[in-house]
């Protein structure tokens, strides 16, 4: 079972965090800090797995972003690596050539996609079509919902 997933930038900015077990906020911050330090210190070409506390860390860097998963002792490292890749593919497909900014400005979408893909730390559906269908359906609903608004209204100045 996956315990948590983190996305952070080369500069150590946390872009997305998903925790699959109840963890106190303070501990989360501590773990994130510690783990980012460990992962960012590693050189390219090093192996994608490391032991950290009682967990296995599986990470991979895509452009400026590190995707980092913590899984349990008996979990399969290679398949976790492909969980990361599939998630990246999903983001890419949804945003169209995804970049870090997409995830910053549409963080809620990134969470929705992750939720459709992983749930309770286990993989929910591995089919790319299956996951994207769910997200696109939601977007369709959203577009129907909303009438365009003026910029002023958006800024709360109307």
């Amino acid at each position: 079972m996956m315990r948590f997933m983190l996305l952070f930038s080369r500069q150590g900015k946390l872009r997305l965090q998903k925790w699959y077990t109840a963890t106190a906020e303070r501990d989360k911050k501590k773990m994130v800090r510690e783990l980012m330090q460990v992962v960012l210190a590693r050189k390219p070409k090093m192996c994608s797995f490391l032991e950290w506390r009682d967990l296995k860390i599986v990470y991979k860097r895509y452009a400026s972003l590190y995707f980092c998963c913590a899984v349990e002792e008996q979990d399969n490292e290679l398949i976790t690596l492909e969980v990361i890749h599939r998630f990246v593919e999903l983001l890419d497909k949804y945003f169209g050539s995804v970049c870090e900014l997409d995830i910053i400005f549409n963080f809620e979408k990134a969470y929705f996609i992750l939720d459709e893909f992983l749930m309770g730390g286990e993989i929910q559906d591995t089919s790319k079509k299956g996951v994207l269908k769910a997200i696109e359906q939601a977007d369709l609903l959203q577009e129907e919902d909303e009438s365009p608004r003026s910029v002023l209204e958006e800024m709360g100045l109307a």
């Binding site: 699959y20 969980v83 809620e108 929910q124």
Partner: protein, 980 residues
Amino acid sequence: MPAVSKGDGMRGLAVFISDIRNCKSKEAEIKRINKELANIRSKFKGDKALDGYSKKKYVCKLLFIFLLGHDIDFGHMEAVNLLSSNKYTEKQIGYLFISVLVNSNSDLIRLINNAIKNDLSSRNPTFMNLALHCIANVGSREMAEAFAADVPRILVAGDTMDSVKQSAALCLLRLNRTSPDLIPMGEWTSRVVHLLNDQHLGVVTAATSLIITLAQKNPDDFKTSVSLAVARLSRIVTSASTDLQDYTYYFVAAPWLSVKLLRLLQCYPPPEDAAIRGRLTECLETILNKAQEPPKSKKVQHSNAKNAVLFEAISLIIHHDSEPTLLVRACNQLGQFLQHRETNLRYLALESMCTLASSEFSHEAVKTHIETVINALKTERDVSVRQRAVDLLYAMCDRSNAKQIVAEMLSYLETADYSIREEIVLKVAILAEKYAVEYTWYVDTILNLIRIAGDYVSEEVWYRVIQIVINRDDVQGYAAKTVFEALQAPACHENLVKVGGYILGEFGNLIAGDPRSSPLIQFNLLHSKFHLCSVPTRALLLSAYVKFINLFPEVKGTIQEVLRSDSQLRNADVELQQRAVEYLRLSCIASTDILATVLEEMPPFPERESSILAKLKKKKGSGTVSDVEDTRKERNTNLGVSSVFQVTSSPSSDLLGLGNSSAVNSGSPPAASNAASLLVDVFSESLPVAPLGTASAPIIEENFSRCFSTSMLDRYFWPSHISGRLLRGSPNISKNAFQTRSRLTALSAFRFVCKNNGVLYENQLLQIGLKSEFRQNLGRMYVFYGNKTSTQFLNFSASVVCHEPLNLNVHTKTADPVVDGGAQLQQILNIECLSDFVEAPVLNINFRYGGSVQNIAVRLPVTLNKFFQPTEMMSQDFFQRWKQLSDPQQEVQKIFKAKHSMDTEITKAKIIGFGTALLDGVDPNPSNFVGAGVIHTKTIQVGCLLRLEPNTQAQMYRLTLRTSRGSVSQRLCDLLSEQF
């Protein structure tokens, strides 16, 4: 403004995010955030009702602020309101906020639960999914309570959509993990298992995760999943790569599902059904074969997915550990990966091989890769890979390659990463000890360890080498010589000084004959390090010095001079000061005899599990310490109990595996161990109740020296045997008339007066075995209840009644209420002797066998003499004491007829078994036996002298006991006279 992708309408949010990104400093960011928070708060508090869209936008902003790492203390209510919106995106943001921000004890949980309940019953699959996600994300107990019934129902309902089924399966999984007690099992078990047959591979994948978790907890209930999983797996591995459409990942058919199915099968032993087993073997072979095929794609995703399945298959093969061909094939495959250009594969191959090394089928095959692994240790650029190589070397080590592996690890240690040094040190120490053929090699290895990585050598490691040297007299001379040489180095590690100080203090005399290591040179060498050491080491050195005074009278003056110097006698550290004062005084006033007694060589340490191994286990978690021999042994004999005392393990004809074990109890130290692994250890136990086992290692008397020792080992080093030896109870005669109650003492109890182990009781149903240890006024008794029948004993209870609770205290741990047929149950009794006592405690056993209740009462062999500590003394001291105890009440004498043959050796063994020291050369008549000891109780200590005079012609004995307490004399006389 960044490119806004489709479906995004919240421009205000994007503006805010942009602002934050443009902030030049942390302060500017905080300022901007506070401004926004104030804005949102005023909106939420404002009179004007907010529309759904605005609410959504502000909640989303709050979420963003929270994710930046700032605290959010409002907005929860607005988020909960969003849940009941019928607009999907509003609902979605509400749920997201709640998943991220609501903790389980929130007051809002009832409102949230209501909203979830509505969505679950909405029959709208998108809403249902949102609700299920929220339950899984929060996973609190309240939610488990609220939805424990709904979620399984949704999962197995016939009309549930596939996507909802997937969510429901994983939601149930999460609830089962957080609150397993709330999730009803049973009625839906078989329907869940049959989800493995579902047409939709997404459903199967989610369901497999659920079943794995459930099967780990209740393997029997989910046994039927094995055949379904094998069938499913077989279909996947034999399918063409395009058959599974979207579930084929880079030309690999359903890799995630395959991994999960293989994982599920690892919850079970190999299938018993031959057909299923054959099919599974075929699957595994196919997976192994595919690894040899040329890749269908050059993409790393292809090889990762394929190898993920392969590694999981190898895990299953190792788990089954039953097919030698598969195991060897797996090993060969991993061998190929050891030299693969992908670092990830090398890492995983090293990791998997560690587990393969513990299988007897593949241990030898793994060993053939030793050179590659050693090479990895030397050339890998990634420390985590090197770490795996160290682990594997450790796992593949056995007697045949120990020297090579230890040498390689030592040489790696010189350059090893600081992060893994301590672990390597522990591993080297364990391997060196475990596979030592010559002790000289062992000592060299440990000293090398200290030389190379002294800072990483933990206390346990140097304690250990000392224990071993103390217990093995054939290595003591070598050890003394080696440490002496090692100490010559101008800069040596403090740990080496500790070891050197200890060993020279004990065994320096063994090398003192050589003029190059004369006593004075030894002392000067040690003392040259003194000023560079920390206080604990200095304390140890002071003890070594006082030991030198005893070993080498010729350096007494020099050492006294050192002790007398201001830097010692007036040392700012009380510990050092007190040692200097006391040692100096001791060396001035005590006669050579007393010095020799007080400062005599340390007695051997009792055998224990290696504390180093315990430390490694603690460090790594016991599961990951692949101790080759242990795992093999465990598999063979199913060793349940910790092997510390090596009880209950052997499946011998004797149900309890006790047999007629040694008749001798304390007094005699354990013979130095036989095989190479002389596992001795006193440090793994905490002191108060602890070091049970032999009674010979003296412990500090607090009244003599206060308890200020700096380490456990030092306690033993502290030369205060004196107190134990010279101490006698004050003449404090009990006025109570002594009453003999021996008729109540069952005969069986007398059988155990001189021994601690054996079968206490036996009838057709039950056998009760004992193993016990006493030390000072404490004792621990292991009681083994063996069920001789094939039927369970139910409502089993065993309790102890003490007739003299003020004098003797027995603490019982509750025994398991069920003893299976043929099984054995262990119960531990902790015994504390408060004062002298007569009545042995009674063990009451009740259980139901068949229809009837069985009651058994047995007297436990806890007798006063168990709390003896033997006392060695010289003839002169003995008679001086003897004369002091001349009060008529203090002496009890008995003349009785011999019941057994009057064999001298047996008699000696019995007296030692009784607990006293057997004193040779005290009695002018060599055929008489003389013993001395101290009875330890919590309140008093009673010194005791005894004399046994056999008259072989008359087949009679005369036994005389003198103690400071009449009642004690009487009781001991009664107990001992029954033995001859």
